[in-house]
Symmetry: C2
Subunit: 328 residues, 2 copies
């Protein structure tokens, strides 16, 4: 590729894209810091509203809803709270320090009441935004162990993903393959009907390509920054590209939830910030019984939680009359 | 509604929503100011790339693409540049002043080469984010006159919208109805097949409800702020609600492009910031000839502009290898 005649403006565009990304990251961090007290206040208010979070998930957008099986819907009726943190953004008096971490890293924390599926009361999944030494960047995570009671809605998928990750960690080789647990995982993934995969398999997500450690990412970010600095001075610099064999490692064939990073982002960037909107939609749905042409056919959590007609109506009057076609 | 028992937490939630909105506006303004120099740089670079904007629109998301008829696609091959400004955000040394205007107001400016449809070289449409005295808020605009040559792709719709707006302005009554031009507009809208409406009818957009003047909006914002201040002190305050007869005025039945505000937002918040991404998609499409299962079936602008195989390949190597499933 180095020998091909690439017009300079394509390089300029690529450099510019990374500068736009920097602004996006700065803005994301700024928004997080400004919104934090409002989210804290919201938690306080919604904790007093029965079934707030179950009703939000009932109205969640298709990109979440399609992962919620009937079993999962049952479990979500026991959802006590949701919390989303961008844990690499430093809060408090020290304020934002660009080197501190990546604002795109996300922690999603679910708190459940007693339920018949698992004994955990808290399930927290962390996603780190990392860069690999072969040029990829994105969200990686580690499988979260769930202590199933009798029924495992993921039908062994989550346990298998967890076992593979643990064995790789123990071996100090995150690309290790071919061992018994790995074969079992591949078999389960292959026999699995993706459309019926439980939401809870998402807790097993590792990476859309391959796992990247904090150390690898720190080194790759350092080199990336050096290349960017040279580029902004007009130097032409090659970027790393994955070797043939690495490409195979990056196929994500042993990933239990290949779109797990996107699901995390939808929860963090849509469900979480728009929770009040989704909750209000559920109230409206309930009042508007002519809802049958809804082709999403969401599972009726309200029926599941045994909730009757709400005693009171939401006051939609704080200068926000329902919009005809709200989007966001 | 005042007499109904509304639990306090619903009022708290509504107040909180308006506080989130404030943060969103602040962030929007901040992002605009930080990105402005990068967008200027981008304009400079892409002006050197043949057919940059036509190719961006060819790859535009469905919410834009569905408004582009074959006629429109022909016109878009002559698109020289696009520019999006948030013109109520003050730039320069005076920096942001919260009272100055609304960061959600947008100006979208198209520059065209000579073409067989109209003699204008620039079409600019401004959208003001305004609040009405009956509680609505959103984007309003004024019809833009296009000087058609022989063929009018909107088949009279745009001219009719423009005529109605001018007559109302002259009469000093933006709700005026029943005059000849208004009847003609209603008839055209009724007989119009929405799916075949030209993109250029969008230049006639006025409001999803009704036109709101700058004066009305200033007054409504002032009263809104007073109510919010009282609410944040714990007072319970009624919001204005439209009268029965105003509701009829707010139906938007004489609107040539009922989703014109959303189309403006998609252009400003997706096409504009992601233009390089859409352009790169067009390059990839061109290389990947197995593209036939694309169910969007976009009109092939590249064929229309008579562009052959690009002489050079975009360098995707500035540390951004093509992502498998890039979103947003």
């Amino acid at each position: 590729m180095a020998d091909e005649q690439v017009p300079v403006h394509y390089e300029d565009l690529a450099l510019l894209e990374t500068q736009f990304d920097e602004v996006d990251r700065e803005i994301l961090a700024k928004q997080y810091v400004l919104s934090a007290p409002l989210y804290a206040k919201r938690q306080e208010i919604v904790s007093k509203i029965d079934n707030f979070w179950p009703l939000v998930f009932e109205q969640s957008p298709p990109d979440v809803d399609r992962y919620i099986t009937p079993n999962d819907a049952n479990i979500f009726t026991k959802l006590k709270s949701l919390d989303v943190k961008r844990f690499e953004i430093p809060m408090g008096p020290e304020k934002i320090d660009g080197e501190a971490g990546d604002p795109r890293s996300i922690a999603i924390r679910f708190e459940f009441e007693d339920n018949e599926y698992f004994s955990n009361t808290v399930l927290e999944k962390k996603f780190w935004y990392r860069r690999s030494n072969d040029g990829w960047s994105g969200l990686v995570s580690e499988p979260v162990k769930i202590d199933w009671k009798e029924k495992d809605p993921t039908e062994g998928l989550l346990d298998a993903a967890h076992a593979v990750f643990e064995e790789r960690k123990k071996a100090g080789d995150m690309k290790k393959k071919g061992f018994a647990a790995h074969k079992k995982l591949l078999k389960l993934i292959e026999s699995n009907n993706v459309d019926n995969t439980s939401f809870f398999a998402w807790f097993g997500y590792v990476s859309a390509t391959r796992y990247v450690s904090a150390e690898e990412s720190a080194q790759a970010n350092k080199e990336y920054k050096e290349r960017q600095d040279k580029r902004s001075k007009g130097e032409r610099v090659e970027s790393p590209e994955p070797e043939e064999e690495d490409m195979a490692d990056m196929s994500g064939e042993d990933e239990v939830h290949p779109e797990g990073d996107e699901l995390a982002q939808v929860i963090a960037e849509d469900v979480w910030p728009n929770a009040i909107k989704y909750f209000n939609m559920s109230e409206m749905d309930f009042e508007d019984m002519s809802d049958e042409d809804d082709d999403n056919a969401p599972i009726d959590l309200r029926a599941l939680v045994g909730k009757g007609k709400p005693k009171t109506k939401p006051s939609n009057d704080a200068d926000e009359p329902p919009k005809k076609k709200q989007k966001k």
